[in-house]
């Protein structure tokens, strides 16, 4: 393409966009290109990307392994949740499996991850809770409308009985 063709086309294009002659950089600053080799930077080949290099796990593919009869291929365990309080006041207790924790600490539960909503006249609970295999901690949110309070309690899951004292 000749220079005059370029300048003509570029002028027309510039009517709708203002990138004529400019850089791809949003700021318009020039970017120093890295030193080029004939085939550019090295690219990491993903496992199985070319369907030629065997994947690392192929020797262990499902066709070739034996599993334990104890493995049930299920995603959770039933645990006991024990929440105690001496207040004898009603409250709502919400249990979440996902939440953000900020300095303070300040907690921000993800409402979509609510595992339990407990309305209790005695602000207590004793019963099952289902814990996903990958779950390591939970957040309990205790709401008392009588006292106009909301408190948060982080629960680390370490054994099959989870206890929480609200006193």
């Amino acid at each position: 393409m000749t220079f005059k063709q370029k300048i003509f086309i570029c002028t027309v294009i510039s009517m709708s966009i203002s990138a004529c002659g400019g850089s791809d950089s949003p700021s318009g600053n020039s970017i120093t290109p890295p030193a080029q080799t004939v085939d550019g930077a090295e690219q990491v080949l993903a496992q199985g990307e070319d369907n030629f290099i065997p994947t690392a796990s192929n020797n262990n593919s499902l066709q070739n392994i034996n599993a334990s009869s104890a493995l049930n291929y299920q995603a959770s365990t039933t645990m006991q949740l024990q929440i105690d309080s001496n207040s004898a006041q009603p409250c709502d207790i919400n249990i979440y499996k996902q939440y953000d924790k900020f300095l303070g600490p300040v907690f921000a539960p993800d409402p979509n991850s609510q595992v339990m909503q407990i309305n209790s006249n005695s602000c207590s609970y004793s019963g099952p809770i289902y814990i996903l295999n990958q779950q390591q901690r939970l957040l309990a949110e205790v709401v008392s409308l009588q006292h106009a309070t909301t408190s948060y309690h982080e629960i680390i899951i370490s054994n099959n009985t989870i206890t929480l004292s609200l006193d």
Binding site: Q47, N58, S61, N94
Partner: protein, 706 residues
């Protein structure tokens, strides 16, 4: 340096650059624009604007029509030549506008003495009206000898106090709403006769309905000048007129629109409650033009072209933007409830919220507008509201709207804001909801359906997203709710889907109160509780292959093949109440016992030859019991090494035909071993499930369905 010879090319280019905008000067409008147009008189000039009728958003197109301070009213869109015409008050002449609202004055051959402010166009004729003066028209066909000659329609009704009218897109009549009475008039342009065909219920005291528009399905929209409210009426049922959206208020207004264009929405946020609450655009759903820097709930907001009704909520195609409200307490009749509301935008906003307390499918009953015009600053707020004594326990819906309008309604459009709809449970005190895995998440059940032959271990023959909620009162389970959706189907064979409750007798279920819904619609004539079973078994569907349309792509499977997407969605939810509440200890472990079974009269894999096992074929999670209607005769055959009752559905290596995955999971592509798509699955197995417990979160991306 640029050569001298190039200068002429630069000159031509610059000339083109400068003159191109003017090439569009006299261009007509698009074929049939979907937006509406307004003329308004502001600052000593007539301004021209477009209106998104779905939200009321107004954009200025032109403030200089080349007519100086002249007032132009009675504007109308001509579908014949695609120009807009109007009446010039000062020149008492017709004016023709191009797409940029630049004017060309067209003097009448017989100029009138009155100004006109009511007009519309049909069949290339411009009709205009004024109370106590009459109805007139002129042809816009330049080849007609009577072009621009005003004709009076003798005997026309002259008593209507109307500020604009609009032609119906197809029936040839003119319609208008009288400002003082709200009466809807139908006018016959042939003889000017007019009759009131009903009352809309809306008037414009001290103002006027200055703009009127039709859409292609025959809805009439009329705009009240002083507050900008847009109302929509079905002309066959004027009493059902609704507030539709809110445009900008003005002292003067006139409207023009292509009546054969649909009213559409774009860049608009909707709720997802059932449409009885007013959710879709057709049903005047609650909606807002999204505005990221102003009024919204939580941290996100998304846009849709129309509402996606539960269970096909917008998060299935976009993001989950229902993130601004957390229910902190149970909703118990007679007590206060509390929600946490996050105002995520930068503006002080008004919060309005409605709860369907009597569960009748609308938000219009007494006390259902539970939070009204509450002004909130950006940030997090705990908000109290009262649950009425008479609230009906059970599942229901709520709607939260924020925006800049204090007295927002529970449907209709507003420019600024967001709407979020939430399912709620109205309950008695001392009630616990125990969700598995959580209130809005799913786990996944994945099946191989070649049993008792091992399959290809892609675990995508049947893939179900699955959730269970138990309702507990006084430490006993009173009800189980199961919901889910078909996530993938990578099988030739036809499979049904059912759920067994091991240890719960069929007789313990209150069969008359079971409710099964497919895609949100209750199945009235189905009996989900299966006959002939000792344990309770509910059948969700007899054949999952009937729940989606095959694509003409690959093997016509559902969401298992590269490049073979499928937008069909099959969801289910079932409520299973118990006659007598059941102790925790008697409840089966999660995920209960979901299983697939053979559809009747459908052939299966080679193992069965010409036999069609139908319902007797079942595949469960490992070590789950076969039901009474499933056959035990296949145990131990071919690759199966079951030793019932304790060991079932395992092969000699203890591998299963079904697995449960603790998340909403993307399956391997068709024919891809699960351990190739998810390499950590191997170590999860070899460690007896102690390591790599989140193996399903680490796929080889190009091996899994995206």
């Amino acid at each position: 340096m640029i050569k001298f010879a190039y200068i002429r090319y630069i000159f031509v280019s610059l000339l083109l650059y400068v003159t191109t905008p003017f090439l569009l000067y006299a261009a007509p409008f698009d074929l049939c624009p979907t937006e509406a147009f307004l003329s308004q008189y502001n600052s000593n000039a007539t301004h021209y604007k477009s209106v998104d009728l779905s939200t009321g958003a107004v954009s200025t197109i032109q403030v200089d029509d080349d007519l100086g301070t002249d007032v132009v009213n009675a504007i109308a869109f001509n579908e014949t030549d695609r120009y807009i015409y109007g009446f010039n008050k000062q020149k008492l002449a017709l004016v023709k506008f191009d797409r940029n609202f630049k004017a060309t004055v067209l003097p009448f051959t017989n100029p009138p003495t009155n100004n006109f402010y009511v007009g519309d166009i049909y069949d290339n004729k411009y009709y205009f009206y004024r109370k106590k003066v009459g109805l007139f028209y002129t042809t816009l066909d330049a080849s007609d000898p009577e072009f621009l000659t005003i004709k009076k329609i003798d005997g026309a009704n002259q008593s209507m106090g109307i500020a604009d009218f609009a032609f119906h897109p197809s029936n040839g009549y003119i319609y208008a709403v009288e400002s003082s009475t709200g009466d809807l008039y139908r006018i016959n342009p042939a003889d000017g006769s007019a009759e009131s065909i009903g009352n809309t219920g809306f008037t414009a005291p001290g103002s006027a309905f200055g703009a009127a528009y039709f859409d292609i399905v025959g809805n009439l929209y009329f705009v009240r000048n002083n507050d900008g409210n847009i109302y929509r009426t079905d002309i066959t049922e004027p009493a059902s007129t609704v507030y539709f959206a809110k445009a900008a208020p003005t002292n003067s207004n006139d409207g023009a629109r292509c009546a054969n264009a649909p009213v559409i929405s774009s860049n608009t946020d909707y709720g997802d409650a059932p449409d009885s609450y007013g959710t879709t655009l057709a049903n005047n759903g609650a909606r807002h033009l999204i505005s990221y820097h102003n009024h919204f709930l939580g941290s996100s907001i998304d846009a849709e072209s129309d509402a996606r009704i539960y269970p096909s909520s917008d998060e299935s195609v976009s993001i989950n933007d229902e993130d601004g409200v957390i229910f902190k307490t149970s909703l118990i009749p007679g007590l206060d409830g509390q929600v946490n509301v996050v105002i995520g935008g930068e503006a002080v906003s008004y919060l309005n919220a409605w709860f369907d307390w009597n569960r009748d499918g609308d938000f219009n009953d007494a006390n259902e507008h539970a939070i009204s015009g509450l002004q909130l600053f950006p940030g997090s707020h705990d908000v109290l509201f009262r649950v009425p004594d008479g609230a009906t326990p059970g599942a229901s819906w709520s709607r939260f709207r924020v925006g800049n309008v204090e007295d927002a309604s529970n449907n209709g459009g507003y420019v600024y804001g967001e709407v979020e709809d939430y399912q709620i449970n109205i309950t008695t005190s001392n009630t616990t909801y125990l969700h598995y895995p959580s209130i809005n998440d799913f786990i996944t059940i994945a099946y191989e359906d070649m049993w008792p032959e091992v399959g290809d271990y892609d675990f995508n023959d049947v893939l179900i997203y699955y959730r269970v909620t138990q309702v507990i009162q006084n430490n006993k389970v009173v009800r189980i709710d199961v919901s889910g959706e078909l996530a993938a189907y990578g099988a030739d064979y036809s499979n049904g889907f059912a759920i067994q409750l091991p240890g719960i007798a069929r007789s313990q279920i209150n069969e008359g109160l079971i409710k099964l819904r497919h895609n949100g619609l209750e199945l009235q004539d189905e009996a989900p509780l299966e006959q002939g079973q000792t344990n309770a078994v509910v059948v969700i569907t007899e054949n999952l292959k009937h729940t989606f349309l095959k694509s003409n792509c690959g093997l016509s499977f559902y969401r298992t093949e590269l490049g073979c997407a499928n937008d069909d969605l099959f969801t289910f939810d079932i409520t299973i109440p118990f006659i007598t509440p059941i102790e925790f200890s008697a409840m089966p472990a999660m995920p209960l016992d979901p299983f697939i079974f053979g559809s009747e009269n459908r052939s299966r894999n080679d193992f069965y030859g010409s036999t069609m096992p139908g319902r007797a074929f079942e595949v469960h999670l490992a070590d789950k019991p076969v039901t009474d209607l499933g056959s035990t005769s296949y145990f131990g055959q071919h690759d199966d090494r079951s030793l019932p009752p304790s060991r079932t559905y395992r092969d000699e290596r203890n591998l299963p035909w079904a697995i449960e995955v603790g998340a909403q999971w993307s399956p391997a592509y068709e024919g891809t071993d699960i351990s190739i798509a998810y390499p950590e699955f191997i170590n999860f197995i070899l460690s007896d499930g102690q390591q790599n417990t989140d193996w399903f979160n680490h796929p080889i991306t190009n091996k899994t369905y995206q």
